[in-house]
């Protein structure tokens, strides 16, 4: 009983620790997370391959490659590939820019918005190689971790993923 109670508390702490949860028109739920809340998503130890892309609605090359990530998420879902799109839009533009973008593009991959004041603290925690330019992408699994400060085409992503799931 005590155990169940503790689990319930843990679960509610987990859910209520998100600063906010906003729904886009297509049903997508966008969580606003601090870096400390987000960081575990860079180190999940499952049998999936995770593709974590940092983007923003105002970043033209980022927006250009979103369909490639979306396609990857769709085509490789059954092969345990999971795409996470981490928006670096300003939090005050969540409702004016991010939600409309996700709704209009009907984005299916999970989207979160990272709300952090000091990039110099968290950028090196994502990758020491990252100078701060976006788009940037982390691809990882249990036994692989790669960081890419560049724009991807679908074929390039697919080639990488093929190596990791085979």
């Amino acid at each position: 009983m005590r155990q169940t109670f503790r689990n319930l508390i843990l679960i509610s702490v987990f859910f209520f620790s998100f600063q906010s949860v906003i729904h886009a028109r297509n049903g997508q739920v966008i969580k606003v997370l601090s870096f400390d809340e987000f960081e575990p998503m860079l180190y999940l130890e499952t049998d999936s391959v995770y593709v974590v892309n940092f983007w923003a609605t105002w970043c033209a090359p980022c927006v250009r490659e979103i369909p490639a990530f979306e396609k990857l998420n769709e085509v490789y879902e059954s092969k345990k590939v999971k795409v996470l799109l981490v928006s670096l839009d300003f939090p005050n533009q969540l409702e004016s820019r991010v939600i409309p973008f996700v709704s209009d593009m009907n984005v299916q991959s999970e989207v979160i918005l990272l709300d952090e004041r000091n990039p110099n603290r968290w950028i090196p925690l994502v990758s020491e190689e990252w100078t701060g330019a976006i788009p940037a992408t982390v691809i990882y699994s249990k036994d692989f971790r790669g960081f890419y400060q560049r724009e991807f085409h679908f074929e390039e992503l697919e080639a990488l993923i093929q190596q990791l799931i085979n």
């Binding site: 300003f90 990039p119 110099n120 950028i123 701060g132 330019a133 976006i134 692989f144 400060q149």
Partner: protein, 200 residues
Amino acid sequence: MKRVSIFLSILFLAAASFAQGYKVGDVATDFRLLNVDGKYISMADYPDAKGFVVIFSCNHCPFVVAYEDRMIELHNEFAPKGFPVIAINPNDPEVQPQDSYELMQVRAKEKGFPFAYVFDDGQKIYPKYGATHTPHVYLLERVGTDLKVAYIGGIDDSPRDASQVSERYLANAIHALMAGKTPEPSVTRAIGCTIKVKSE
């Protein structure tokens, strides 16, 4: 296993390929670039400068826009002390039309930039520095006839909101140089817009 390691090394090479350009301590190149006032300028044109705050910048990037007022303040604070700001737009306007030379002139006038805002026409300078995004700062110190890179990175610890700044990395680095010390930290990171080039 062998296949994996070959694959990994290919990935590593691909990942490392962008990490070129200057490191702290390297000697930086001068340039001759067109300023928004219609004149070409070089760092050699500032014989009294003790160094330069070279900021790769542009018109379109929201992170640059968030910093424009702070760039003006930095110039007004440190140019009289021998460290003027020079902003360089490294973007290809054919890729990012908002970053054309003409629109640089418009933006400089709107904001009343007190510093030089020059155009890296042909994109020859930014690769030498190794700039990857805007805003991306290179603080240079004049040592004899050389310009040495003393600090690389961001301006402060609160890009989105000037009122929340608690550490002015760049200003602190300039103060360190003025006191004859080495900036600490000498490298910081900040999110910015990728420098816009035509895709191959």
